[in-house]
Symmetry: C2
Subunit: 708 residues, 2 copies
């Protein structure tokens, strides 16, 4: 099996933004807020709305029935909200799902994805055809069981694991607020879109949602509008059994504006009024609790958990058709519904054309800003950006890779317009502050240091969304390496959905010392190496740290984990940026003909130990090679010839040294080699003492070498 | 390196409870709530209180200074609260830290552990001597950098990773409420203790804390009293930069009673009044916000983040001594303070004696209940408990291991008094309901099905605490296997602190089918195998499922992960409970003399594929062995002879098959063997289709065998 890079959603090709500027000027309102931005579209006649709503309901029912798998309950309950939002409020261009200034929509309750697929289909997105709906949840289809941005154009983020999509929506709204603050001008509102999200009871219960909501309130994300599908049912039955808090009161405590739509089933005007009210509240995010009936229309299953996650069954489908006066065949879209939704194609094209025209004007007046924004929209990096990364020699002073990392972060933020990020309340330990910028805050959203508070989980999810908002936004986020455990779910989603977040993870071993085993990672390196489509980079010194950042920036469709030391490390002889790019390479060798007697393999802070042990062994006349295996994933991607040139098959005397578990090292040391590591939890003591007690020493490497 | 089993805290030896009952009857109040239960002890004179408070402050300051590492800020700010709580309210017996009916205290802001160590020392706990305080954060000391229950008697749970301790406190309070409801009688209040917890701003920001608080409010845990150390400072500076929500309003929305002590620095009477009020509120947990000054007394560093996590430095220590009128040498405990605290030894002994006497009476009147409670207190399992586990033959019908798991759970709950647990809103998918019990709820706390809602992270932390509350409480908890990612932090703490939680993780592979890659674990098996001190068990059929549960129950000081299938699996020929206990064993072989031509190794749902492939290959005359590697950790613990008898070194033709990443399998298949697995994310489609597309088939095993 190989690990394919996930396909990118077909957003604008990289050159689109540039190409657009070459288009002839189209008449329109060149500057200021366009009249359409806040205005809702005229609503269709209620009868037509109801037909559209039932179309959505039955597309979901029929697709789930055909797949005999899926979640009909949410689409049936939320179809009214879905219709009103998409048809009357959401600004998008179906023929270019990646249009930069579109409103963002996230279905955090991702199991209800047939709602989204049905809406995308009706709205004219070419990526969701009737055949796609009929292939719901089948191998190779564009309509998977949960929304996946890399499969379906029009899906912004990958959701399903509960709470993630809601936290993503906070990230999308943050990105908008940041870009608007940086690029809008008194005479040009060039960044101006809303973020809408639907979340259910399940999302509300997840801790990550509270973390994200607390941040959204703190940041005053006024253009974030969340719909809470309050249907009183989760998988185990009534929410009475586990979820009886006052959700709206909680959100008010978190600084949100709240609205309650008591009849989400037929109260179209209430839904409309709520969205209008929410859009007018500029200084706070809004939570609209929409009380709905899950499985609305199903005479025997509505309002029960049995409609949540299973097909209705043919008998109940028939009963539902009768109940909702829907005599049509499966997958039927009435002509008048089709025709009504058709206007979104033209309108979407006009919206984008209007915006393009405005951007062309903007570009004339604000060249520098337009160039930066263009880079963010297109994802094209400035030429020679990597020349900004610091360089080192073996004479450079010893330093912790977390400090060297800060030099890289600051160098990159200077040359990459979309580079921003922060730490989960450990900025001064993780060394992540961008010195030339202030804090992204409610009243200073143009700044680039994000203060996440002690909220690792939301931090990861927010960064995933920042990266997916625009190809040129490159978010980094940071905490102690051991606390990747708190954010494993969003890290996995980064890897799955191709979101190139840079995870700056410091204090990467027992080398952090006295804080003890709760803070000392030992299994985290491997647990992340096991994850597909992610780079785990453990640089050994300044040169490798710069090399690691270069790789992290280049890899826009897979995330990177940088495991960095708290403790000082010397600049090593033989490390290189080019070597790092291959994942593994020889940093020193006194053998000839690719036949060393012994290969010592190290990563990160233990590469120094390998190098020192080699020096000692060479003094005794041994032919020893030292290999830095900074990134296993990249090394595995090299040619067999290259790998053989670094780790020749014939050389079975191999020792690895890494301050983490040894499981997995068999891959490189083989059955005759030996892995030196830590197959237990750490301990609270000064770092040097722990290294010594656990045998991560030059002496132990030498003794092990002699025992082989 | 080997993985030592963490030492258990020296609680009562297993036989203590039984021994106690043999003691002569001691005069006292045999039944009913003792007068001391709600009464605070008389407070010392204010001057003495202040001396005691400053003693605590300077023990913390001096220990951090000596270690040149640690967190003086919290102990300096919370010393008044610590003194009042421990000296006037907390019920404990210093000479038996494991006395069953003690109040539980948790320092969720674990970095402030010198507060707890100082209090334990003053209170007379022998596990924390003056020498221990002087060895703070040193190798081998009983005063590690964060509180560890397995190192320090008097520490209930292991904290440090923020939010965990608070969620633990919810689990401790749940355990008390459950046991009280089951065992108290109108004439005997035999279970009656409070749970106190201190949490800081960092804990409050973590999502897990909100999850746990929502559950505590829902369950009405009236005997849980949480102190929120509101000092307005976190590591990055003022909480203004990331945490501006209204915390008390949030807790009110979650169903808590709230109190604000505005002067936590010198307002002793306010602290006392708040605790008294909180104890009187029976139907809701209470959050007492105690506004303090971090680093109180330090003239130049108080109220700044610099006092949070570093030694003050000798100059500032001196200035603080001057400021607080504390002329003493480092580590000084004034005689009058020592003498005052001395009374806790006698009082603690009396409290326990009184309780023992009451229990002796109770035992006479309620034999059955006393036997059950005794089993819970001592951790002694009923004899032949494991005979209750279901047995199967190859003729038993095929079934999903999640269903077989439910048979085991129900069998165990019948015979083990302390067996209880539940799922994170997936009970009907995880198959975790105990059929003979109802739901643990606010008004039915005697029941054993816990409804965690969609709160995996809190679920894990709550179960850790249930297990640590009493040796005989055996909690299980459940979600989809992929969502171990949401609860990795508490799983790690289970492993670190020796909490024998049973993690029932169903839908353990792409075999779950249509829900797609967000729900399909591929790297989770390996990422958990990398964790020290945890058993990852992946049973293949009913026999192995029973075997896995037997192991999970026996291993009280290391947690177990049971990875269970959604899909049906046949009962296999050759599987056994005894084999499972060895971690790996031969289920079939047609070779002689321990010399098979080929070894096929499978786990869980793929063992069937290995067995079928072997059947086919044997038809062609091959000598093939099939090995079930249900638990790598246990297999590694077997003798070299045993391992050689299963996987003889000389046989290099080996194929593993497992529906997960192949990284790590080099350990068993070697460099000449081949691991069949999934080194990518899964896909949304029917399970059989995915298995086929990804090559997890009998045909592929056969083809691979022929290619070796």
């Amino acid at each position: 099996m190989t690990t394919p890079t996930p396909a990118r959603i077909p957003t604008s090709p990289a050159s689109t933004a540039a190409a657009l500027f070459r288009r002839p000027f189209v008449a329109g309102r060149p500057g200021g807020r366009p009249a359409t931005a806040l205005r809702a579209r005229p609503a269709a006649a209620t009868e037509l709305v109801e037909r559209s709503v039932n179309t959505i309901r039955f597309l979901a029912v029929d697709a789930v029935e055909k797949a005999n798998s899926g979640h009909p309950g949410l689409p049936m309950g939320c179809a009214p909200l879905g219709h009103v939002l998409f048809d009357e409020f959401l600004r998008f261009n179906p023929t270019n799902p990646g249009w930069f200034d579109r409103d963002r929509f996230v279905l955090s309750a991702g199991h209800g994805c047939m709602l989204h697929y049905a809406l995308l289909h009706l709205a004219g997105y070419k990526g969701v055809t009737m055949d796609d709906l009929k292939a719901f949840r089948q191998w190779g289809s564009r309509t998977p069981g949960h929304p996946e941005n890399f499969e379906t154009a029009g899906v912004e983020v990958t959701t399903g694991p509960l709470g993630q999509g809601f936290a993503n929506s906070v990230g999308l709204a943050l990105a908008e607020k940041h870009l608007a603050a940086r690029f809008n001008k008194p005479d040009f509102t060039i960044v101006d879109h809303y973020t809408y999200v639907i979340l259910g009871d399940g999302c509300q219960m997840e801790g990550v949602a509270n973390e994200a909501a607390s941040l959204a309130g703190h940041w005053g994300l006024g253009k974030l509008i969340a719909f809470y599908d309050d249907n009183h049912i989760s998988i185990d039955g009534s929410t009475d059994i586990a979820f009886t808090e006052d959700v709206l009161a909680r959100y008010e405590a978190l600084g949100w504006h709240t609205i309650w739509v008591k009849n989400g089933n037929t109260g179209y005007d209430d839904i409309r009024a709520a969205i209008k009210e929410a859009k007018e509240v500029k200084d706070k995010p809004t939570l609209i609790k929409v009380t709905t009936i899950i499985g609305y229309g199903s005479p025997n299953k509505a309002s029960t958990h049995s409609v949540h996650g299973s097909a209705l069954g043919s008998k109940e489908v028939e009963a539902t058709r009768k109940n909702l006066l829907w005599p049509h065949e499966p997958f039927h879209v009435p002509d008048e519904v089709k025709s009504h939704w058709g206007h979104h194609l033209d309108e979407g094209a006009s919206l984008e054309a209007e915006w393009n025209a405005k951007f062309a004007e903007y570009e004339k007046k604000y060249q520098q800003e337009a160039a930066e924004l263009n880079s963010i929209i297109s994802g094209e990096l400035p030429s020679e950006w990597d020349k900004a990364l610091p360089t080192y020699t073996p004479e450079s002073p010893a330093d912790a890779t977390r400090n060297l990392s800060q030099q890289c972060l600051n160098a990159l933020a200077k040359v990459i317009p979309g580079f921003l990020g922060g730490s989960a309340d450990l900025a001064s330990s993780n060394m992540t502050l961008l010195k030339m910028f202030g804090d992204f805050q409610k009243d200073t959203p143009e700044e680039r240091n994000i203060r996440f508070g002690v909220r690792e989980h939301a931090m990861g999810a927010i960064c995933n969304a920042i990266a997916l908002h625009s190809p040129g936004l490159i978010p980094y986020c940071s905490t102690f390496f051991v606390f990747t455990d708190y954010m494993r779910a969003p890290i996995r989603l980064s890897a799955l959905c191709g979101s190139g977040v840079i995870y700056v993870m410091t204090h990467d071993s027992i080398g952090l010392g006295e804080d003890g085993p709760t803070h000392q990672p030992v299994e985290q390196l491997f647990s992340l190496r096991a994850m597909p489509n992610i780079l785990v980079l453990r640089p050994a010194d300044g040169t490798e740290t710069s090399g690691a950042y270069r790789l992290a920036v280049i890899n826009r469709q897979r995330p990177s984990i940088l495991a960095l030391s708290r403790q000082k490390l010397p600049q090593l002889e033989g490390t290189s940026v080019e070597g790092a790019a291959k994942g593994g390479y020889v940093i020193s060798d006194n053998s000839l003909g690719n036949k060393p007697e012994l290969i010592l393999i190290g990563t990160g802070s233990e590469l120094e130990i390998a190098a020192k042990a080699a020096d000692e062994l060479r003094k005794e006349g041994k032919c020893v090679r030292v290999v830095s295996l900074i990134c296993w994933e990249l090394f595995e991607e090299q040619s067999e010839e290259y790998k053989e040139s670094v780790l020749p098959c014939d050389v079975s005397s191999r020792i690895s040294i890494e301050a983490g578990v040894t499981l997995g090292w068999e891959k490189y040391v083989g059955q005759k080699g030996k892995a030196i590591g830590i197959d237990r939890f750490g301990s609270s003591a000064p770092a040097g003492k722990i290294y010594k007690e656990l045998g991560l020493t030059v002496e132990n490497v030498i003794a092990t070498a002699k025992s082989l």
